[in-house]
Symmetry: C2
Subunit: 361 residues, 2 copies
């Protein structure tokens, strides 16, 4: 216990050379012994580790490489519980690691003030390659202005702001954009249902003003147009974008006695909630109601029945964001904005509607 209290008063940091001398090995051997990937005799390693302990050598306190300016990629995100964001974070971390960069994730809890504090911190850092901002938000003037200011502040320090699944900023703002095709994915999901004869497709959407919702609603609408099916606006129910949102939205639709043969939810966890609500009402999927989700998160294949959904390249999005940031495309090169494709994953939650069920058009 005395050790602990004495700790903060120690001054001159021992070097790896001190460790090697004490362990009676070469500096190279001491270094190898401390990097567990390299083969070193166990007795040698033990001697080096004892020297480390005796000297209180901080294994990793190498001098900072200040001339190697850029070595760090930060991701800013509301949470890492959503499968979307945790998989994007995984992609960012992998690509950052492959490029020899460290990766840190700042969690804001969706709190704007905390997001601002994070930017304040990041905009002071000298070794930052990029800030990757992930996840849909409401597109407001305040958002545009705030993010434009951050993009400029980062750019002035040689770092890139990358918007990932976020609304793009006005032309001329030095920000990079990696998006997934919300409209295309929702179009694919909706037209899958329409092509199997469904005509009244309930949709449980996310927050109305989120750009993700706006994109997915555009795909849902445009599939209806292309199939010549008039859309009943009462079939569009905005919900919280989580399991209980999907559950409540579906209960609401059933309580209101809305007529529908299929449900398209804007994400898979909402689909799991809708499935629970249908089951409680004695309705089967796909026997009574067909169900399509969005995201293809792991839970989709565990549902009964396994869920037909839209594949989202989450990890690939994180990787693309890192690659794009490190590539530093020339402004105006057309490379500043990348759109990643999506596709439908067909499982067992949709059935073709028998012709007799088709309402007259």
């Amino acid at each position: 216990m005395d050790d602990i209290e004495a700790e903060p008063t120690r001054r001159s940091a021992p070097t790896l050379r001190d460790v090697a001398r004490r362990a009676e090995v070469s500096v190279a051997t001491a270094s190898r012994a401390l990097t567990s990937d390299y083969p070193v005799a166990e007795s040698t390693r033990a001697r080096v580790l004892r020297a480390v302990e005796d000297l209180n050598y901080a294994v990793t306190s190498r001098p900072p490489k200040r001339n190697q300016a850029a070595s760090h990629i930060a991701m800013v995100v509301s949470d890492v519980v959503s499968p979307l964001r945790s998989h994007v974070a995984t992609g960012v971390a992998e690509a950052a690691g492959d490029a020899g960069r460290l990766c840190s994730v700042y969690i804001t809890g969706g709190d704007l003030q905390r997001e601002e504090q994070v930017f304040a911190r990041l905009e002071e850092q000298d070794d930052l390659d990029a800030v990757i901002l992930v996840g849909g938000v409401e597109l407001t003037d305040a958002y545009e202005q705030r993010m434009s200011a951050h993009a400029r502040a980062l750019h002035a320090r040689g770092a890139q702001l990358v918007l990932c699944g976020r609304p793009p900023l006005p032309a001329g703002v030095p920000a990079l954009v990696v998006e997934y095709d919300n409209r295309g994915g929702a179009y694919a999901a909706t037209s899958h249902l329409l092509s199997l004869g469904h005509r009244r497709i309930l949709t449980l959407t996310g927050p109305e003003r989120s750009t993700t919702t706006i994109g997915r609603m555009a795909g849902y609408r445009s599939a209806h147009e292309d199939f010549g099916v008039e859309l009943d606006p009462s079939l569009v129910i905005p919900c919280r974008a989580d399991r209980s949102g999907g559950y409540q939205g579906c209960r609401q639709a059933l309580a209101d006695r809305l007529e529908f043969t299929a449900i398209f939810t804007h994400n898979d966890v909402m689909a799991s909630g809708a499935l629970a609500a249908l089951r409680e009402s004695g309705l089967t999927v796909p026997g009574d109601i067909s169900l399509v989700g969005y995201d293809n998160i792991p839970v989709a294949q565990e549902l009964s029945p396994p869920l037909t959904t839209v594949y989202m390249p989450h990890e690939e999005m994180g990787k693309a964001a890192v690659r794009l940031a490190l590539e530093r495309p020339e402004p105006g090169s057309g490379r500043e904005r990348q759109l990643l494709g999506t596709h439908i994953v067909i499982r067992a939650s949709v059935r073709p509607l028998p012709a007799s069920h088709h309402p007259a058009q």
Copy 2:
């Protein structure tokens, strides 16, 4: 586009005062307009935002508060895809936010060298309260020595190392520990099965040398002892701790024609894999085989049948780690180590074994 290229050459940073002057408002109003939580007339806000843009004012570049030494909590973790780790991260972020601290998560991909790079970076930072290291690892001498060195280096800078679900370090090393009760949880799961008459309980474990596995195996063994049931070592199958590990382990057990009436998997995603393997073999849960998981992650309630499992206080663990770090307990106070309890969550994947099925003991 010209804007972008001109950006890095600008020199003196405009101040909030410049913004206020240009927008013809007071500095206080300009500040309020840039903090979206405060009410400001939209026209005023628009003027301020225009001034921000015109001046290229970096909204958040406040002078660093260097005298407020500690303002940042870092978490170091292999990944944020595992529900365990993403929920611990959520707890850390929430408690950090409540305490007015920023929270960042460093993702190492389980790569030791990257973990060392992260520590090297963190050990240079002046405003760090704590480093929270999360997730089970193999307990080796090299691990102990390495982590002890980091604990000392951080402590010397006034920061705390908190081990969360990681093996504790030798006495005298200035590290805090927050653990969940692996042994107690596995004991509860196994004795639940034993008390319902199951005598041959297959267990699909994680990596054999992980301290998490060791703790859970201890609970599984000790429940058998307390019930006076001899354990058949062939019923213990080490697997990869993911869905495909659970699937393969269960397929293996079925192919080897092992006799068992119940399965205890060391986590819920392994249980989902085992469930898929059982279903492929035409076996029902709980009709033919009872199944208990561990962790109570969201997928547990989506399985068919909903999974009986062990509740793990993941978010609470993250919060406890932050609270403990900020409390800075006196060495030797007995507060440096906290053990969080677990309990079983009974759903629908276990059935009592009829007395006729009980093998003779």
